[in-house]
Structures are given as C-alpha cells and as structure tokens.
C-alpha cells in the first residue's frame, strides 16, 4: 500500500470507497454528506424531520452525527436542491459546541453557580444566534431566502433591540462597533464581540477577583429562556418565504455539557417555543461526568421525546441490511466501481459451506437432545435451523480450526446495527484485496477479479476489525469523564468484556441453548455493585456508552410471561475476537450478586456458581487430588494438567491452523522441566508426530527428569541423554526434502549439523536457539546451511525473563546455603548483561549484600555505576574479599589467577549454561583435595581445597546453572511466555519460505507482535 486506503496499480490509484468511516472524517463536505447519506427507515426519519423535540440517544458509531448533519441546511441544499429547501418547513441549524471556557465556572463539587447559569444562558443564546445569522447569510447566497436591504435593516434593528442586557446597562463593558449595525455581517460581528466578551471574562475571571461582569448580566432584563424565540420571530417576519418554517436546532454531543449547562438548555426546550425545534444527540445517559444528568432529564414526554438508535436497528433485520446496501452502493458508485452491490461483492458464506452439510447433520443427530425429533423430518429441520450455527462452532473448536466470518449477512450481523462497523469491515476487506482481487479493468474502472471476494480475505478483515475494537475499549472507556475507581478504568472494562465473553464461549459448547449471548440481570443494572472498590455498575454503564454492550429487548420466550428486565448483548463485532457466536439467541441469566462476584474473582469460582453441581464436583475432586501427599520425585501436578499452567502456549497450540509441523522431524534439546511437556503438546497440536520427535536432555540435576522422560517415552517420543547425541544423529534417516527442525538451548546440535552431520544440515529447514551462549556457538559457523531464529536479544525475552532468572538464582543461593547470613557481606557479579544486572539488583535488594560488578565492557560498567554498584575493572582485584561470586557471562572468565585471589570459603555460583563460568580443570589442578559439598544428605556442590593456601572454594551446583539444580527454576506461568515465543518461532521455521540463511534476530520481535504474545499473556495471567 502506498497511501492509506489506496493501492497503486499501473500508476493509477484505486480509492477505497470505505476509507472514511465516521462523518467527522468528511470535514463538513456537505455535498459528500448529502451524497452518501442513506435515508434510514421511516420510523426514524419521520421522527427526525417531525416537529417534535427529540433527544437522539445512541452509543458510539450509531449514526447520531450523520443524522443531524443531514438535516443541516447546508446538506439539505446539496441533497434536495434550493427549490425543495425553500419549500421545506424547516431550516436545520447544526451545532457542535466546543468545550469552551465554562468548566472553571463550576463550584467545587461541580454544581453550576446561579450566576454561571445566567451567564451560560446568554452565552448559549449568542452561540445559536450567531449560527442563525450565518445560516441566513448562507441561505441568501444560495438563493433559498429572499431578503431585501430594508428587511435586513429591520431584522438587525430587531435583533439589537433584544440585546437589552447591554443597552440598559451601558457600562456592561461590551466592546461596541461604530454606529448601529445595519446588515447581517455587522450584526454578526456584534454577536461575536458580545460572546467573546463573555469568553474573555471567563478566561480571566479566575485570576482576578472581580465578578462584577457576571453580576451585571444577572440583573439584566433579557429573558434567556425566550430570547431565541423572539429572534426567530424577527427572522420569520423579515424573510417572506420563511412563513411556516421552524428552525431545527441540531445540537450534537450534548453529553459534553455539564449538569448546569444542560439545565439551562432544558429550560429553553421546556418553553416549547413555536419557532424552534430541538434535536439533541447524546450518548446513553447516567454515565458521564460525576455531576451530569441526561440531556433529556427534567423534560416530559410532551416536551421532548427520546429516540434510541441502538434499539431501532437489529443487525439481522431487513431494514438494516437494506441500509448497509444503500450506503455501500453510494460509496461504490462514487468511487466508480464496476460492481456496486455489496451483497454480491461479499457473497454468502454459510455454516454448511464451512463445516460441511452432512457433517453438521451427523453431529447434530449424535449430540443434540432432540428426543425422537430426528425421526421426524420436519422437526429435525427445526433443530437444524436452531442449532446448526452452534454445532458448527463446536465442530470447529473441537478440530482446532478457526471459525471464519465472511459474507454480507455475516458482516451485517457483526455490525451490530452500527454502520461504522459495517464500513470498517468493508474497508479492511477492500484493503486486503487491492492488487489481488480488486484491480482496474481495461477501461480503467476499479473492478473485481472475482466476486464474491475470497472468504479468507473477508475473515481476516473481520478478525482485524474485531481485535481493533477490543483493543480500543480501554481508550474509549478512558475518554469518558466519569472514572471513579482506583485503577485503570479501561482495563477493568476490558476485563468485564473478556470475562463475559468467556462465559458465552463456554456456553457455546453446551448442547442446550448454546448461543446464549444475551445477558440478563434479573434484578436490573441498578442492583450491580456501586462501591468504589468494585464499581461494576459504572463499568457496565460505560460499556453501554461505548457500544461494547447494547441494550436489547427483554427475553420473552413464549412459555414465560410477566415483565422481564432488558437484556444486554455484546457488540457482535467482538464475536471473532472472543470466539463466540454473533447470534445471541438465548439468554444467560446471571444474578446481580453473582455478577458482582465474578467480575471481582477468578473464572473458576464463577463457573462453579453458574454451571452448577457437575462442575463443582469436578473441581472438588481436583482439589482432593491436590491435597494428597506427593511422593518424592514425582511431579506435584499431574502431567496431564500441566498445560493448564501454561494457557498462552495451549492457546497458541490450538490457534495454529493447517498443522505446520506435520511431516517434520523435530530435534529438541531443552531443559527437562515441567514446562517442556506443554511445549511438546503444543507441537503435537501443530502436527508434530511423537515418532518424528527426538528429545535430548542435559546432565543437569533436573528435579523431575525421570517422570518427564517416562511421560515422553510413553507418548512415543524418542528420548536421549546428551551424551548419546552423536549416536542419535548418526542413526537419523534422511528423508527427501527439507524437513528437519532444531529447537535447542545452548548451541549443541546446530554446530554439529554444520560439521560432522552435514547431510542432516542439508535437509534442515531451520533452527530456534534459546540462549546467548548458543548464539555465540552458532556465530562461529562460517557458512550457515539454514536459518536460525535467535530468541536472545528479542524485546520480550530480554525484558521479561531476566528478573525471573535472577530471582531463581538468588532464591537457590539461599535454598542451597540456608545457614549463610548474606546481609552486609560482599558479592561480585561477573558479567553485567540483562541477567547479570538483575542478579546484582536482587543480591543487593533481597540479600542486602554489598555488590560489586565486573564486566569487560566499560559502557556496562558505567551503567552499573549509575545504579549504585561498585565497579571493578580488574577481575582479580574484584574477586578479593568476596563471599559470593556469580558468573553471568556465558563464557569462562574465572580461571587460575582469579581462583588464587579468592577469599577462603568463597561460593562460586553460575547463572549460565553448562559449566562455562568457572574453569573447573583449573580448580582441579590447583586443588590438593576435593569433596562433595552437602547440606544434610543433599549434595549442593563440590568443595575444593587450594593447595598451599589453606583456602577452600565452594563450587555451588558443581558449576552448573544454579537455577536448575534440583529445582524447576521459574514457575510455569513465567516460562509460558518464553515457551510460547519458542513455539511461534518453530512454526515460523516450518512455514516460512523467506527466512534468510544464518542468524535471524529481528524476526522474533515481529512474531511476538504478530501473535500478540504480550497481550495474550496479560489476558491470561494478569489476574
């Protein structure tokens, strides 16, 4: 794409007719608004053009502004022409008032002072009057109004006489022009100058104590309530073809007014002035400012009616689809497209096409409790109609295939009655189609290579719109004024949406009323928690305002009578993202107190409340399992449940389509920790076969190696110790074509495939390397035979992992040396990389040690100094006098000279792979004797006695990385993210044909972003 919304093809740009989705993007291009406006159904249009005052209530994107702007005189002239406007019985005056300077004029607590109300009354009248004058001038120029010079003079005199608040109090301070205004432009200048006078007063008032201005206005005789009516009468009297016309005051975004301002406007409306009709647009009430009230509050139905746009259009109704077609047609015509029927362009995509008709029928017959209905063809037809969509979802979920959203009917449904959504869906579809399925034909007209557009394209567009909407929930919620809770408001709203989406997703898997995405709160919204620490009520109201939830009609099945509360339907555009059906057929009834709890507590507790006994029993039995004592050397958690501890990885395993690892041979060398099992499971879901997977383990003292090995072997995987790696590689059969994938930690296999086992290297698709040490090894290879994706250095790994690794290191130091008092003692960290830095911080902050840092890189030393550490440029000097020396370089830097400089009883700790950090051959050579270092009966390392010095050196964990010494290092919740990163890199190796040979680092950040790992991780783990 060259520019947004356009695709260059043959040097001619094709415009995306759906690029502009909100009316604000039209920039008051009235002719465009007029052209693109599609008349809504008569029930709405009739109310708009009628003579009654209306408050038009609608959430974001419901079309309020478009409706009001259409009625404005400027648009009407473009739409129906001058003659018809002249004959019309209204003149639309569109106003979107700015926020202005009035906010500071409120008392603490937000109440409008009485003097402020009067001031605002004058101000509001002046704003409307200025617009009226401008409109008359505009209409005159366009030929709508005839007004002679004499009549114009009379009109000006009449308006000036209304300004009695300045005439009778000459010292009011208004700046007056020279002489009396005689024509419309000069009267407009007067009005502007009066208004600016008030604004200037407001802008300076608070810095001075003089309030005499407002006091003078408050005693002025002008009646702010009827001022506009009197002016309007003067106008009618002056303009002959104005007889019988009314001014329609079209006020947009009235929720921006404060309570006091709304009260002033309501007071004017209450007069039921015969010359003016008010059409006010606002978002749903009771949710905005701390003090504000609904624009229409205080007005009776006789004074002002309500039009609820959200309820007017149901997404499946013929009228909404008709509106979508009409809107799209205009846009496509304007952009010169060959085909202008959007329903043809998007086509129809049914669940039968997606899943297979026969498969659906079979599934329904097997699973749905139809009780004899299956023998009755007609009745089964009803079952098919009712449940086929849900059955389709269930089949797809069980087979791990993503539901596709495509087709005109689907897009209309996803739009949720909000035109902006429909336009966004079309926009994204077109953007993805440019150059492939949308091209220019021979006559230069944009045309379609095929219609309907591919399902995959439409589906991708739907998912992107859905995800965008979900992501924007936070910002939209924050943009509303009322935020009384003590944390990020938008985050809580997103949480509400994701929890309730999760409920609907669960229900979709049941066989009774599966599409129950209609939320009913029997006691009503009012019963939701309003407390400051659990403001469910405010959050819910906000979801209505930002169109995340829409209020639907009460759920009224035939067999249930009585009065029922309204239901709330999640904006259907969220269906792809939340993986729920966009059809809210049945209801999910959740009591207010349960909803209060579930939006505060974890999902598990809620599910046991809502789904009843079965689930509760299952949970109880799980807890019983947990309570039973765990035999030594067995995993605390059964292997089958390990995937639950790594939900991101599990999710990705389910999400990946088309089994990318099928037919591939995997060579895996990773730590034999509990997080390995979910990783292997994810690979299996992605198509890897156990017989085609060889897994190697290092000689570390993994606490659960045997159990893991047994589990993998039973699953059909081949498991080898690292000592047998050459044998195993030698026995590997070489299949035709590249199909080998390496996933490793430490750069062991990849160098071998470039040296001893080159034939295997030639059939390798690529490798994924976990560690910096491994990358160093790989960099030594002169010419790489395949791509290697390097995870170290990626943003996610470098920011997320080091603190946890460091914590594991420091925790294990304490665990293995529980009787040591570290406080106040000295430590040296060798290597101030991302992990070394964290280790230094934790040694200082957790163990209260005096920490020195050595690094060969001076820049890192400067950084360490900035953080308050002692820096040691010379390692030998730095090692002297230290109780603990931690190596975090990934290389051997502590050798003979350093060993000889060490303090008696020093503890050497490695934080990197293998036994790299400390030169163990030198230790052996310098020692007169060595023995096991134990705590009780557990070996924790090796003690070396340095000959001729009497000093002893303790090599903790035998120089292996201490975080793996008889412990799981990091919790699975932490390694969930890193293993997920490895998994997506593995999938990339399997599927990408464009990875360059050699080491690739940047791709990792791209993949993390593409798969939204951080966001998904937060979603699963942040509560």
């Amino acid at each position: 794409m060259t520019k947004k919304g356009k695709m260059t093809l043959d040097r001619l740009e094709i415009e995306n007719p759906f690029e502009k989705v909100t009316v604000e993007q039209f920039n008051d291009d009235y002719s465009l608004i007029a052209y693109l406006f599609a008349r809504p159904k008569p029930a709405i249009y009739g109310k708009l053009i009628g003579r009654e005052n209306y408050v038009i209530v609608g959430g974001w994107g419901s079309g309020k502004t478009m409706l009001l702007k259409y009625l404005a005189l400027e648009t009407q002239i473009e739409d129906v022409g001058v003659t018809n406007v002249r004959d019309a019985d209204f003149v639309g005056v569109y106003l979107k008032p700015g926020r202005g300077a009035f906010k500071p004029f409120l008392k603490p607590g937000g109440e409008f002072k009485e003097s402020g109300q009067i001031l605002f009354g004058h101000y509001f009248n002046l704003v409307v009057l200025e617009k009226l004058i401008l409109l008359i001038m505009y209409g005159r120029d366009k030929g709508v109004f005839d007004i002679s010079t004499k009549r114009e003079n009379n009109l000006c005199e009449g308006i000036m006489s209304k300004f009695s608040f300045c005439q009778s109090i000459p010292s009011i301070g208004f700046r007056r022009g020279k002489g009396e205004p005689r024509d419309l432009p000069s009267i407009r200048q007067e009005v502007v100058s009066y208004r600016r006078e008030i604004e200037t007063f407001l802008n300076t008032r608070d810095l001075e104590s003089d309030l005499s201005y407002s006091a003078k206005l408050s005693i002025a005789p002008t009646d702010t309530k009827t001022f506009l009516d009197e002016v309007a009468r003067d106008i009618r009297g002056s303009i002959p073809n104005f007889v019988g016309k009314r001014f329609y005051i079209l006020l947009d975004e009235c929720e921006q007014f404060s309570k006091g301002q709304q009260r002033v406007i309501n007071t004017i409306i209450k007069q039921r002035l015969t010359t003016l009709v008010f059409k006010l647009a606002t978002r749903p009430p009771d949710i905005h400012t701390p003090e504000t009230i609904d624009v229409g509050i205080g007005l009776t139905d006789r004074e002002c009616k309500h039009l609820y746009l959200d309820k007017e259009y149901t997404p499946t109704s013929a009228s909404f689809k008709e509106l979508c077609r009409a809107v799209a047609k205009k846009r496509l015509e304007k952009s010169g497209y060959e085909v202008t029927d959007i329903s043809k362009i998007l086509g129809k995509y049914t669940i039968e096409e997606e899943v297979g008709g026969e498969r659906l029928v079979t599934y329904l017959k097997e699973n749905y409790p139809v009780k004899g209905r299956t023998s009755d063809q007609a009745r089964f037809h009803t079952v098919l109609k009712d449940f086929k969509v849900a059955a389709g979802f269930q089949i797809l979920r069980k087979t791990g295939v993503r539901k596709k959203y495509a087709g005109f009917d689907t897009f209309a449904m996803l739009s949720s009655g909000i035109m902006v959504h429909f336009l966004e869906l079309c926009r994204n579809t077109f953007n993805l189609s440019f150059g492939k399925d949308i091209v220019r034909n021979k006559s230069g007209q944009p045309s379609f290579r095929r219609t309907p557009l591919p399902v995959e394209t439409q589906d991708e567009a739907a998912h992107s719109v859905s995800e965008d909407f979900y992501r924007e929930i936070r910002g939209r919620a924050e943009s509303l004024k009322d935020s009384p809770i003590d944390m990020e408001f938008g985050d809580r709203i997103q949480y509400v949406v994701s929890v309730i989406g999760g409920i609907f997703r669960e229900k979709l898997m049941s066989f009774v009323e599966p599409e129950a995405a209609r939320l009913e709160i029997p006691e009503g919204l009012g019963a939701l928690d309003k407390s400051a620490n659990n403001p469910i009520h405010e959050m819910f109201n906000t979801t209505l305002a930002i169109s995340v939830f829409q209020e639907g009609n009460p759920y009224m099945p035939q067999h249930i009578g009585g009065i029922r509360p309204p239901t709330y339907i999640l904006n259907r555009v969220l269906a792809p993202y939340l993986k729920i059906s966009p059809r809210p057929r049945w209801r999910t009834k959740i009591k207010a107190d349960v909803l209060n709890k579930i939006l505060q507590v974890s999902d598990n507790e809620f599910k046991s409340e809502v789904f009843g006994k079965k689930r509760r029993q299952k949970r109880e039995s799980k807890e019983e399992e947990k309570v039973a004592p765990v035999p030594k050397n067995q995993l605390a958690l059964p292997l089958s449940q390990l995937s639950d501890t790594m939900p991101v990885l599990t999710y990705l395993g389910n999400k990946v389509t088309n089994q990318p690892l099928r037919g591939k041979t995997l060579l895996i060398l990773l730590h034999f920790l509990r997080d390995l099992i979910p990783f292997i499971e994810a690979c299996k879901k992605a198509g890897a076969s156990p017989s085609g997977t060889a897994i190697f383990y290092k000689d570390y003292r993994y606490p659960n190696r045997e159990s893991i090995e047994n589990n993998l072997t039973k699953g059909g995987h081949k498991v080898y110790p690292i000592s047998e790696i050459d044998n195993a590689l030698g026995q590997l059969s070489i299949k035709e074509g590249r199909n080998l994938i390496i996933i490793e930690d430490g750069g062991t296999i990849v160098p071998r495939l470039h040296a001893t086992f080159r034939k295997l290297g030639a059939v390798t698709l690529g490798a994924v390397e976990q560690t910096t040490r491994g990358i160093r090894n790989d960099r030594l290879i002169k010419m790489h035979a395949f791509p290697i994706i390097a995870i170290p250095g990626s943003k996610l790994k470098d920011t997320f992992e080091p603190p946890h690794v460091a914590r594991a290191v420091v925790d294990n130091i304490q665990r293995l040396l529980p009787d040591k008092n570290f406080s106040g003692k000295s430590a040296l960290v060798v290597g101030y990389g991302s992990i070394g830095e964290q280790i230094a911080l934790q040694l200082r902050d957790s163990l209260r040690m005096n920490v020195s840092v050595h690094d060969s890189d001076d820049a890192k030393l400067i950084k360490a100094q900035q953080y308050g550490f002692n820096i040691q440029a010379n390692l030998i000097e730095g090692i002297k006098g230290k109780l603990v020396v931690v190596g975090a370089t990934g290389e051997t830097v502590v050798a003979r000279s350093e060993i000889l400089a060490m303090e008696h009883n020093v503890c050497l700790v490695s934080a990197s792979s293998e036994q790299w950090e400390f030169c163990i051959p030198e230790l052996d050579a310098l020692s007169s004797e060595k023995c096991d270092l134990c705590y009780g009966t557990d070996k924790i390392g090796t003690k070396y006695k340095i000959r001729n010095t009497g000093r002893e050196v303790n090599l903790i964990a035998d120089g292996y990385p201490i975080n793996f010494w008889a412990t799981e290092s990091m919790p699975n919740e932490v390694s969930d993210l890193i293993m997920s990163l490895m998994f997506v890199c593995t999938v990339e190796v399997a599927t990408s044909s464009s990875l360059p040979l050699g080491i690739n680092q940047d791709i990792v950040n791209d993949l993390a972003e593409r798969y939204e790992l951080a966001r998904i991780y937060l979603e699963y783990h942040s509560r």
Binding site: K103, P108, E130, L134, V192, R205, R476, S479
Partner: protein, 323 residues
C-alpha cells in the same frame, strides 16, 4: 502583556545557580512531588543565592506513598539556607485556581510584591495545569523577569514496565485557557504526545475533531528513548494519516513555540484550535508562549486519576535554564 517575559535563551546548568541579578532579591517558586527531581534545582543553588521569600507548593491529596511528604520536607530544608522565609502552600491537586488564589492571598497577607521582581520557578514537578495557570498569573503581576528551571529524570516509569498514570478523571479546558469558539469553524486538535498513549487516545476520542495534528518530541532526552513516543501512541497514530505527524523539540520551549505558532497561523482561519500538551514540561512552556500570542486557542488537559508515584521517574538528569 509583557513581551520580555522569556527572552528565548535555553542553556544547560553546569555550575551552581546564581541570582538573576546579583544583589537583587528575587522570589523562588517550586513544587514538591513524589519524584526524585523535586530537590534537584534547590540543591544546585549556590551559597550566594540568598533571597527573602520562597514559595513551595504541595498538593493536598491522598498519597499512595509518602514520597511527596518526604520530598516536601527535603525541599524546604534545602531552601532554608538560601531563603529567609520558606512559605508552604498546600493546595488542591486538581484545581489550579485554588493554588493561585492561595499564592495571591499569601502574597497580600505577607506583603510580598511580585510586581517588578525577578521570579525564578522550578517547573519540573508542577502539573501541567498548575504550571500554565501559574505562568499566566505571574505574568499578570508584571514581574521584572521570569526564569525557569527544568530537570530531566534519568528515566521514566515505562522503563520498569509501569504506566505513568492511571485512569482519567476528566478532560477539561485549563482555567483561563478556554479560548474562543467560532460557530462556523471546524475543530482542530493538536496533541503534543508523551508516554501516556491512552490519555492521548482518550482526548482524541472525546473531541472527535475534524482534523488532528500530533507532535512527537524530537530529539528524545536520551538516544535510547527514540521511538518510545511512537510506540506508546501506536493506537492513535494508526488512526491518523501520515501527514498528521509533526515533530517538536523536547527541551527548547522557544522552538516549540515557533512550531506551534506556525501551525496556529496556518489553521486558525478555518479551525477552532485546541492544544493538549502531553509531553515534557518544556513543551508546555512552548505551548504557553504560543497561546499568549493567540488567545483564541484553547488548551485542554486530561486529569489522570493518579500517577504511578513510586516509579514515575527516577533519579536526576540534566538541568536546563530558560530565560
């Protein structure tokens, strides 16, 4: 309105801070906050910096940490050797009028005349609202000169994966910066972006302006901060056309003011202009300098519910002087 209020000089403070005019009394104004930077400028005052009056503002609010209180005491103690009177002013965090009224009343009560005096303000830890209203108030008192100091932090909360602020209370036009509204003009929103992407997005959503211009700060305080603003505002930037982005200086308010003046002049015929400074304080000063020349422009501000206090900013970086 004085034209000599800030002459246009930006310099980095390298040595101890002296009086504006040797031997002439001046007034020092600062604000205590939870940041380490609170006392940076006060600590840099030279021994010969001897004045009669210092005003120290402290916002009265429920604090999540005691940092503000501790820094307030530290600041007062640091000023005591330099200032005969160190006058504390406890004021409402979200109502700058309250603070200004108290300054005004205190000045009257103590007989402190601001007119004709040199005023030195450490702007570092004032909220943007307060800073703008304070500058307008001070200017109205016709001082002899105004000198401003600003201290960079070593880094911000985002380094530790924390947001700078949480939630939004309201989006308001700053008192005395309401601007003037023309009914026939469209609305233009100029957002000077910072690290609080959701706050910027919220303002933009709220305003639904006809046109938006976003200003990204360049150069960043630190080389490795380049790209942060774009990253944190990615959601908003993805909604805007490429030509909506321009670049403002981060440390030179006079450059910022020039750029803003150009934008205002270019668009004021067609648009009601609202500006929201969400970037660093020097940009706020630039905004102030422009809006005093173009009073039709409105300045809007999104009041956060509360700031991330413990990690908002850490340590002290360079100190800048603006005259």
């Amino acid at each position: 309105m004085q034209d000599n209020i800030l002459k246009g000089t930006t310099s980095q403070v390298s040595s101890n801070i002296q009086l504006v005019e040797e031997g002439t009394d001046e007034i020092f104004i600062a604000c205590a906050s939870f940041e380490d930077r609170t006392t940076a400028v006060a600590s840099k005052l030279s021994l010969s910096y001897q004045i009669t009056t210092s005003l120290v503002l402290k916002y009265d609010e429920r604090n999540r940490t005691a940092l503000r209180e501790q820094n307030f005491e530290r600041l007062v103690n640091t000023l005591v050797p330099h200032s005969k009177n160190v006058l504390p002013i406890i004021c409402d965090h979200h109502d700058p009028i309250d603070g200004i009224s108290k300054i005004r009343d205190l000045s009257k009560a103590k007989g402190i005349a601001l007119q004709g005096r040199n005023i030195t303000i450490d702007i570092t830890t004032f909220t943007k609202q307060y800073l703008l209203v304070l500058l307008k108030f001070i200017e109205k008192q016709a001082p002899k000169s105004i000198r401003l100091f600003y201290t960079e932090p070593e880094d911000y909360a985002i380094k530790w994966d924390k947001p700078l602020s949480y939630g939004l209370i309201d989006i308001v036009s700053i008192p005395s910066y309401g601007g003037h509204f023309s009914v026939e003009k469209e609305s233009l929103l100029i957002l000077m972006l910072g690290y609080e992407g959701d706050r910027a997005y919220g303002i933009w959503e709220r305003f639904t302006p006809h046109k938006t211009i976003v200003a990204v700060g360049r150069p960043s305080f630190r080389k490795y901060w380049e790209g942060r603003v774009e990253e944190f505002n990615r959601k908003l930037l993805s909604k805007l056309p490429e030509d909506a982005v321009c670049y403002f200086h981060t440390l030179d308010p006079f450059e910022v003011s020039k750029n803003l003046d150009n934008l205002i002049e270019h668009h004021s015929d067609r648009f009601n202009i609202s500006v929201s400074p969400l970037g660093p304080k020097p940009q706020v000063i630039g905004c102030y300098l422009s809006v005093r020349r173009y009073p039709d422009v409105q300045i809007v501000y999104a009041i956060p519910k509360f700031h991330e206090e413990e990690y908002f900013s850490k340590k002290i970086g360079r100190i800048w002087e603006y005259r």
